[in-house]
Amino acid sequence: MSRITTILLVEDDQLDAMDIKRSLDKLNVLYKLVVAKNGEEAIDMMKGNHEVTLENLPDIILIDINMPRMNGLEFLQVIRDTPEWKKIKCFMITTSDEKVDKEAAKKLGVSGYILKPFKINNTSSLDSFNLVIDLMNMKGYE
């Protein structure tokens, strides 16, 4: 039986997505990364209404805030409102260090609020560190 950690990254900026992927690659963790360009697309993927489908529900969702159509906080709200999804670990990865955004995310029960640029070896950010630990613990296997 094989188990691969699935990470859903909801991010509209292609370069940011690439940067996050490069950082995750450095972790030596077996994972599968799926990128959705906004909240709506991510929901379609999770529901199986998209050409890219997920085999399992994601183990971790990384969410940007400022996105077109459905922003990160709205998306997170949908996750928390849907019974079968609400337990999924979510991290915000965003440029916004606004108090309002941070508080809204905290209210919706995020596991971490990470400011861009996300660097996996940046242990000065406790939330980045938590994400790494979580990924290590979920270490996929074949």
């Binding site: 370069l15 940011d16 690439m18 440029t95």
Partner: protein, 490 residues
Amino acid sequence: MRISYLIFLSFLSILLLFAFTTFINFRLSERVKENTDFVNQSGNIVRSSNRFQRNTINMGSGLRGFLLTGEDSFLQAYDSAATENKLILTDLFNQLDTTSRQYKLLVDIASLNNRWLSEFGQPLRQAKIGAEASDVNLPYFNKLYREKMQSSDERKLNTRLQEEIREFVNIEYEKRSEREKLLNDSLQMTKTISFFMITFSVLMALFIVAFLTIRISKRILKMVRMADSIAAGNYNVSTEETGKDELSGLARSLNYMAKTLSSNINELTKKNRELDQFAHIVSHDMKAPLRGIDNVVSWIEEDHKDELTPKVAEYIRLIKGRVIRGESLIQGLLSYARVGKEEEGEEKIDTKALLKEVLENFSMKEGTTINISEAMPVIYSVKLPLLQVFSNLIDNALKYNDKTNGLVKVYHKEYPGHWEFFVSDNGPGISKNYHEKIFMIFQTLKERDSFESTGVGLAIVKKILDSRGEEIKLESEAGTGSIFSFTWKK
């Protein structure tokens, strides 16, 4: 009614009341004078009447004395009394009203007197003179004497005359007492009227004062309170005024002003918020492409390190430098837009401890000294803005200092309502031409490439101080060092 009319009418009515009171008192004084004149005249009449009476008696006794003794002194007394009585009668007639009872009485008295003179006085006087001159006439005199004096006619006439004179004097006394009663009545009446008029005037004046106080003072006070409230920044106030006078006009103007101010301020607040939001959104959106550039350049460096020629490596370094500057500019803009947005609570601040906290964030150049005055005060205020102001001023003082033994001093002065804090340095100084420019955002006096400076620090300081109604001053010349000072309310 207009207030000016009201005040005018009120004072006019008080004035009229007092004028009326004065008029009544004047009338009274005239009456008193009239009465005094009357009493004087009446005294004269009484005196003349008494004298007249005495004279009639003197005439009687003078005549008898002369008739009995034939002495001239008696005759003289008789004559002078008769002459004087003529004069007195004329005088009395002149003083009396021809229709009065006294006048008729006086006519009676005069005719009785004349009768006495013509029937008794004159014939006997002549007969006696004749008898004295010659004894021939004596029998005639004796006959006449018996005829006239020994009958009761003379006494009866005399008694009637005396009675009439007494009645005449009594009428005068009656008249006088009547006049006195009238005068007393009018005195009493005037007193009463005066008392009521003055009381009424005073009450009316009090009422007018109270009315003016209520009608004017109260409303003015209300408007003063409203103006104070506007001055304090609360524009959503109005005062209820439905009248048509000047104060209502003023109140309506005030209401209109407050409304206009309120809508203008709301508009302004909205615009400011939009501007802040704009700065915020723009800087966020600008961050993303910069980060993208940085990412790609980093990947080139990481993945193709060995393939880069020195020139390409140098270009990449230049790109990264500009990206960093772009990021710090955006960061500066964000910090600038954020000034005044944090919720602040007042707390006790030991400014000396606060400055130590600030200094911990700076890495000092060797040879540089920071001198914080021992007497720095403990104040009660908001902490973050003050910390930011000190931090930016000290940062500038250190960053631009070109001396090997740089010296930065922080001290203060105390004033009744505020503190003044000073940050001085012995750096290059700032020419007067730039004293205003340096407080604008993104203005820097150093070439950007050569210096890590975004021109946001002083702009933030200015914005913080402006938003709190504080002032910043700069005392500096090129080459003399600089002293920045700012006020801080107690």
